[in-house]
Structures are given as structure tokens and as C-alpha cells.
């Protein structure tokens, strides 16, 4: 009957307000504890299957290249660390962007599971533009290819936004469907006999796209371009973080997005066009994810092989990144660094197989990622902390 405060989290709370509650009550501490618990659980699995968890984590950490910042490192170690760190930062780039694609939607009360599809569509368009138009000036070629990735990602996600706005269809279902449609369309395009399969006569049997032309490749600024050095995409991703923050906190659009996210009813009553926001927000999310796809194919992959399309899990890591980062810009950056480190630290390329098998470690990464998302899905820890604090406060008042 009356609005009794019988719960901190009313059942119909939007995702956005839920996240706000978590952020308010837990701050940086709760995600930190969550990550620790997930790593601890992962360590137990490692231990239970007869390996040494401490050595394993040490080796994984070494594989991330984060030790590059330690001043006491020897020159040789630093060279190795630099190589590893370059890889980690290459992965950080798309993770920031797929993270933002999820975070921005969350802020508007939407759940974008479609990062994968948007990323794929963005990479398809970017690889097509990047491998066509031979002779276009390099800078222009790069800009056009990136724009193609951004716009196609936006359009793909915009479908889900449009359906949500016009027919009220749940975006979770539509974005999942759009993911798989994108996957199969990609497999078809670059598959054997597909319309965009490479036209290199020596690779007729290889289901892979044409290579991105030299002029459309992103310049490498750290490390050796031949050995997959770090390309400038990381700066574009960092810029996207700034754009995200400004858009959300300093523009009227962001104000509307947040209002809709916290309370669609109040937003509508004060004259905000909720439907328009749904479309716009999904499109912007798709733009972020599509940009991620474009940067990957132009920065280091240079081609799309059909096998890689369904195997790419970056967008799902994006969900973990955004949730762990509490849908904030800085949080997304930290989350992206964490998971990029984990992905590379456990990769065949960077993990010392004498300590721990990389194939096992890759799956360890998935487990830790799953655990992080699972623990964050409810924030058991946060709610617990919240209760504790409230109880303490009431006791203080009583005393």
C-alpha cells in the first residue's frame, strides 16, 4: 500500500538505477573484492587440478607485460615485457569499445548483448573498405574505413533500438538474434564461394577476406610493425572514453539518456522523447562496437577468416568490462586493462607453457570472466556492505 522502504532494491528497478545504487554503496571497493574473489576461485580450480596457483598467476602476470612499468626490471626482461604489453594494449583497444557499447546502453536502461554482432558488422565493412579502393590517399582511406565501421555498427544496433522504440520488443532478444545473423552473414560473405571471399588465386580454398591495403593500415607507434606492434587505435579508444564521458555528463543528450535510464516514466512526463533515445542510444552503442571491429581489422588482423567470426568473444568480455567498471568511463578503462591482461597473459603466445598450459589458461580466463559477471550480477558483496553500513548508522542513531 504505502511506499514502505522494505527493500534497498525494488523489484522493478532499472539496470541503470541498480548500477547507481551499487556505485554509491560500494564505490571502487566492491568491484575490487569481486575480482579478488573470482581470482581466488580460479586459483582453487588450478589447485584442485594439480597445479600451483601462485606460480600460475605469476606466469600469467608476466604474460600481461604489466611488469614493464617496474623500474627494477633488467634490460632483457623489459624488452620481453614490452612485447607482451603491446599485445595487451592491442586487446585493450577493442575491449574499451565493446565495454562502452554495453555501458552506454546500461546508462539508458538497456542491455546491449549485441556488441558481438555490431563488432562483426563494423569489422566486415571496415575490411571491405580497407581492402578496396586501391590508390586512395592513406589518411582518407583510414578515415573512410573507420567511418564505415562506425556507421555500420550503428545501423546494426539501430535495428534493435528501432524495434524497441516502435514495437517495444525487448532489446535483449533482438540483439542476441542480430549477433547470430551477423555471424552467419559474415561466414557467408567470406566463406568459400562467398561474395567477399579473397580474389587471390593462390588462396581459393581459404575462407578468408582480402587483405587490408597498406594505405588503410593503422600506423604502429610502439614496437615492430612486422611483429604486431601497438597501433594508434589505442588513442582512438581512449578518445572514445572521453567522448563517452562528455556525452553522458555534459550534453543534453546524455542528460536525457540518464533520465530515461533511471526513470523512463519521469523522463516521458517531463517531455523527453523516450523512444528517440532508445534508437539513438543503441546506434551510439553500435558505433562504439563497430569502431572496435574496424580498429582490430585495420590495426593488426588485416583480414577476416570465417573461423574467427564466431570464435571472437571480445564483445562478451565487453559486458564484464562494463559491469565491472560500473558503466563509468574510468571504470571501463580499468576493466578493459584487466581483461586484456588476462586474455594475453593466458594466451599461447605469452604464457610460459612449462608453468601452465595455455589451453587450460584460456579457459581459466573464461571462468574468471564468468565468475566476475556472476558475482556482479547481484553484487551480493555490495548489498551486504550496504546493509552493514545501514545497520551501523541505525545503531549510531540509537546510541
Amino acid at each position: 500500500m504505502s511506499a514502505l522502504p522494505d527493500d534497498e532494491l525494488p523489484p522493478n528497478m532499472t539496470v541503470a538505477s541498480r548500477a547507481a545504487v551499487y556505485l554509491r554503496s560500494g564505490g571502487f571497493v566492491a568491484p575490487l573484492i569481486t575480482v579478488l574473489v573470482a581470482f581466488l576461485a580460479g586459483g582453487l580450480v588450478v589447485l584442485a587440478t594439480g597445479h600451483n596457483p601462485i606460480e600460475t598467476y605469476q606466469a600469467i602476470f608476466k604474460g600481461t607485460g604489466f611488469n614493464w612499468v617496474f623500474p627494477w626490471l633488467s634490460e632483457d626482461d623489459r624488452t620481453i615485457a614490452a612485447l607482451a604489453l603491446q599485445q595487451t594494449l592491442i586487446t585493450t583497444t577493442p575491449l574499451i569499445l565493446t565495454g562502452l557499447a554495453v555501458a552506454f546502453a546500461f546508462r539508458c536502461g538497456l542491455f546491449n548483448i549485441g556488441g558481438q554482432g555490431q563488432y562483426i558488422v563494423g569489422s566486415i565493412l571496415a575490411v571491405w573498405v580497407g581492402s578496396s579502393f586501391d590508390g586512395m590517399p592513406a589518411l582518407l582511406h583510414i578515415v573512410v574505413a573507420i567511418l564505415a565501421g562506425i556507421l555500420s555498427g550503428a545501423a546494426w544496433a539501430g535495428i534493435a533500438g528501432l524495434l524497441k522504440a516502435v514495437t517495444g520488443t525487448n532489446e535483449v532478444i533482438t540483439t542476441i538474434m542480430l549477433n547470430w545473423i551477423a555471424i552467419w552473414v559474415g561466414v557467408w560473405l567470406f566463406g568459400l564461394g562467398g561474395p567477399l571471399q579473397n580474389d587471390d588465386p593462390t588462396r581459393v580454398d581459404v575462407p578468408v577476406s582480402n587483405d587490408v591495403l597498406a594505405g588503410a593500415k593503422l600506423p604502429v607507434f610502439w614496437g615492430d610493425a612486422q611483429l604486431q606492434g601497438l597501433h594508434i587505435g589505442i588513442f582512438i579508444a581512449l578518445a572514445a572514453l572521453v567522448v563517452f564521458w562528455v556525452l553522458l555528463n555534459r550534453t543534453t543528450l546524455g542528460y536525457e539518456v540518464r533520465a530515461v535510464g533511471f526513470s523512463p516514466d519521469a523522463a516521458e512526463a517531463s517531455g523527453i522523447n523516450v523512444r528517440r533515445n532508445y534508437i539513438l542510444v543503441m546506434a551510439i552503442c553500435g558505433a562504439f562496437a563497430g569502431l572496435g571491429g574496424a580498429l582490430d581489422v585495420m590495426g593488426w588482423q588485416f583480414r577476416i577468416a570465417t573461423n574467427d567470426i564466431p570464435a571472437n568473444q571480445l564483445a562478451f568480455f565487453g559486458i564484464a568490462v562494463a559491469l565491472l567498471g560500473r558503466n563509468t568511463a574510468i571504470g571501463t578503462l580499468l576493466g578493459a586493462l584487466l581483461f586484456a591482461g588476462l586474455i594475453n597473459g593466458t594466451s599461447t603466445r605469452n604464457l610460459d607453457p612449462s608453468v601452465f598450459e595455455p589451453q587450460l589458461a584460456t579457459n581459466l580466463t573464461y571462468m574468471i570472466q564468468g565468475l566476475v559477471v556472476l558475482l556482479i550480477s547481484t553484487d551480493v558483496l555490495v548489498v551486504y556492505l550496504l546493509r552493514l553500513r545501514r545497520r551501523r548508522r541505525t545503531q549510531a542513531v540509537a546510541a
Partner: protein, 508 residues
Amino acid sequence: MADSPALELRGITKRFGALVANNSVDFELKRGEIHALLGENGAGKSTLMNVLYGLHQPDEGQILLDGEPVTIDSPRRAIGLGIGMVHQHFMLVPVMTVAENLVLGAEPRSGLLLDYKGAANRVRELSQQFGLAVDPDAKVEDIGVGTQQRVEILRALFRGAKVLVLDEPTAVLTPQEAQDLFVVLRRLTEQGTSVVFISHKLNEVLDIADRVTVLRRGEKIDTVSTEGATERSLAGLMVGREVLLRVEKPEQTLGEPLLTLEGVSAEDDRGLPAVNDVSLEVRAGEIVGLAGVDANGQSELIEAIMGLRAPTAGTITVDGKDVTHCGPRDTLAAGVSHIAEDRHRRGLVLEFDLAENLCLREYKTPAFSTRGFLSPSKMVTRARKLLKEFDVRGGEPETRAGSLSGGNQQKVVIARELTADPKVIIAAQPTRGLDVGAIEFVHRRLVEERDRGKAVLLVSLELEEVRSLSDRVLVIYEGRIVTELPPESSEEDFGVYMTGGGRDERAA
């Protein structure tokens, strides 16, 4: 044993965080008695009954059934002990049939399967035995509220209820349906059932109950027999002060009509007609009250005016401008302010801070943004000024709206809506859930706006509020304006029209 009461509650205390919903409440129900539980909204009536029904656990106190102390930790246990409850919002499953709803939780079986025929027959038997007509095969979503209530009562009886609790049962009923219900309740008590009747309506309590227990702010005030009690005496107990807050209103100076509705109709969320051919006019310098029982189309009417719901017929004009098919933004821009009926749902963005909430109407204007970029400092400066002017306590511009008390939240809404300098103010339940101080503040501001030549449409379920504030009062019933009365008319006159009675008189 024989003379022990059917039910006794001793010293029940229930806290929600810092809020004490029930403070050491005693309650006694004799066998075969109809005992009313009377109190204002938020007095703790529903909480007390939810404790009885096992939906809440009391922090202190004891429950005795037939003199035996019992612990009720779930509705299942309550049902097992012979307690039945009819909730204010019916607890039925809309897509299932009456019979399915009725037997849910104690289904007749044939083998492993549900014996649906048996269930339907059982419904027919019960409905005959107690004179409650229902069709067992009808889907609940297709039957009217009165019938749904009968299903709820039948369900309680089917589960063997000896104590029947009805939470504001007449809130959704027409007067005729309410009378039918009373007949049923009397028949039930003759057959030995004891009834707790929760209400905040004085007249019906006097009409149906044998005794009345009055709750105020979670405390039991008194238990009295209805014999010899009057509406005035009960009201005094209920409110704790002489009722009839008199609002000082200067002489009015009437101006042009600012809000005009002609033949407006609208449908509710289920597509059923909710507003029927409403025509009304609010002129500059007057407060027009819209009185009515809950759920008689008030919400839909407001939504139609505000552009939140498309009218199916009619025209709405604000100061000569047709806003019938405008969305919320254009309606607001035409000079309408809206004090929303549910401030948590529509009035405020609870997770926004006060500065952000205060410019929900104007964030796009040059005062707060340039080329799409916000100016937070301007928002804060303005907020600071408004918070002071409207005496919002415990709030800085950076305070989250959700952390304020109800009264201060409402002040924020009013500050935002009134500083927009509207022509028309739609005030829907503007004092719901507020304390006396806040109520007076809201009333004073509304009268001030009237005196400044604004047109105020006041929609409230509190008849007292409508009568004391309005210059004239329209009564809405089943989506129609059934009459216009001067505010000085007696409560009984209003009551007749608000419950559909006047229509029969006119027809006769």
C-alpha cells in the same frame, strides 16, 4: 475457550528500517463480529494485517487464535490456521480461469492430474452456498473487479477461512457492488465467520462494522463500538485533530478560461474506456477540484491532458492553443505544469541530484545549455536559489532526490513546476503521503498561484482537500463528470455523486 476471542493481536511492533509501521498494537476480534480497522493512508493498517497473514514478521508481539498463541511465518501457515485475506490489489492470476484461481494451492486431483471439473463444481457449490455468483470457467482478466473480489472471498472460504480480512474492499467497487458486499459479509458472520474490515471511509465503517479500532501513525488509538459513534467522533480519533483544515483564500478574480476540455474520451492501458466525454473549463484565478473515488478515470484524464495518453475523442485547449494531439513536451511548452500523482514514478528522477531534477523542464533552454552542451554550474546556482526559496530542507543541489523525505521531494517538484511560470497547473494528489506542515505548504502555494491568475485543476482522492481548496468542484464517476457542486456542499452530497448515486436520482 468458548469465550476467548477468535483472534487477538498483542503488542505487535513492526519496523521497516527507521520507520515504525506498527508500534505495540493490540487488536481483538470476537467470533462472528465485523471489526473495522480505521486509519488514514499510512497509518499501518495494511502492515498489521500483513503481519497477521504471515507476509511480514513482527519484531515484537504475539498473535493468539482462539486463545492459543500461534506463530505465522507464511501465508501458507495463515491459511492453515483459518485466516483468509482479500487484498486491496487482488491476488489473482489474470490468464487463468476462476476455478483455477480458486483452487490454486489446494487443488483437487484425479490421479496425478488436476481435476478441473471437480474444481469447477466446487466453485459452483460454494458460490451457491454463500450467494456469490461467479462463472467458474471465465478467465479472471475478462471479469469485472466486483466479480474478482467475489472470487477472492470465495477462495478464502474454500480454504476454510474462519477469520476473513478485507483490505479496503470498497475502494474499487460501485456503491451497488459495495452494498452487495455488505450483504454477503453479514451473511458470512451469521454462519460464524469473523471479519476484519480495513477502511478509511467513515460512513461505510459505521454502516457495516460492530466495533472499530482506530490506528494513527502506527499506534492504536482506541477501540469503540459503532453504536453511538458518529463520523465526527471517529474522524477526531483518526486524524487526531479537529478535521477541516481551513485554507485562507482571498476573494477571487476570475479571468479568461485557460484550460478547456471538450468531449474528451480516453482508454486505459487495457483498451477499455476510462474517460467518457469529459468537458470542463478552468479559468484564470480559480481552483477547480475534481473529486472522485480512486480509479474512476482521474489518472487517465490527467495523462490525456499532459499528452501522455492519446485521447480517443474531444479537444483540449490551453489558453486558446489546441494541445489535443501534442506530446508531453509541447503540452508543457504550451504553459502547463504538472504536479504528478506519483512523484516517485513521474515527478522526479530519484537517482538524479536536485540540480538535475530542478531543470527537467528546461535543460534544453539556453539558460542551462548551449549547442547541446550542459552548463552544470548554472544548474547548481539556480538550484541553490530555488531550494532556499521553496524551503527544501536537508537538500543541497548535489543531493540525490531519492534521499529526501517525501515532503521535501514534493517541494522540489513544486519548485520546478511553479518556476516554469505556467498558465495552467495540474495538481494530482499533491499532498499524498505528506505530513501536516508540508500539506499546509502545498496548499498555500496552490492558493497563491490561483491568486496570481493561474488556472489550477486539483485532482485528489481526499475530499476534505478538494472541498477546502477549490472554488468549485466537479465530481467524476466512471470517467464522467457527473455533477458540479459548490465546495460548501455537505460531505453526504459529495458522497452520493462520487459513488454514482446521483446518476440514478437524475435518471429517476
